[in-house]
Amino acid sequence: DAGVTQSPTHLIKTRGQQVTLRCSPISGHKSVSWYQQVLGQGPQFIFQYYEKEERGRGNFPDRFSARQFPNYSSELNVNALLLGDSALYLCASSLMGREVGETQYFGPGTRLLVL
């Protein structure tokens, strides 16, 4: 079975631009979470979606938004890019996303560089 897939793998943007990152969860998983991993740091939680509804949001500005589609895939959008948005963006899927301790399975990430 395919794991979590993300596209694109790498992306270069300039300040002020907008970017859309995509994620497909493991088949049967209904919850998707997004994390930002800045170089040298641990991943930081951005969003969680379940059944197309936002179930959690981390401490990120409104420039960050996301959505989940009927097939449970998800997009993360970042507007008005800043240099500090350069990071590895990780998507994780889980079965339901509301069972504490439920394992999250991570994709390989999208590496975003903002110039």
Binding site: Y35, G42, P43, G58, S94, V100, G101, F106, G109
Partner: protein, 113 residues
């Protein structure tokens, strides 16, 4: 609120030697603890997790961790490391009401031949 502290940013160790990667957590509610490994240019892979029950948890690739509530620790150990264990290791915690993860800053394990 939950948080995790990984005390060592880098740990060099010789091949076939034992290793311990340290993790301390802080939480006001019941916690669930995880160790993930990240190989270069890859995503995160779950090594092991503690939810309840036995405080000694065994994971993949010969790793194990011990949950110590009194010391609020969840240290990761391996009795004999291999070159292939060279990677970044992250300790993470989650708690009610969701399974969102809060990660530490990571420990880079370098196995020296």
């Amino acid at each position: 609120a939950q948080s995790v502290t990984q005390l060592d940013s880098q740990v060099p160790v010789f091949e076939e030697a034992p290793v311990e990667l340290r993790c301390n957590y802080s939480s006001s509610v019941s916690v669930y603890l995880f160790w993930y490994v990240q190989y270069p240019n890859q995503g995160l892979q779950l090594l092991l997790k503690y939810l309840s029950g036995s405080t000694l948890v065994k994971g993949i690739n010969g790793f194990e961790a011990e949950f110590n509530k009194s010391q609020t620790s969840f240290h990761l150990r391996k009795p004999s490391v291999h070159i292939s264990d060279t990677a970044e290791y992250f300790c993470a915690v989650s708690g009610p009401p969701s399974n969102n993860l809060f990660f530490g800053t990571g420990t880079r394990l370098t196995v020296i031949p």
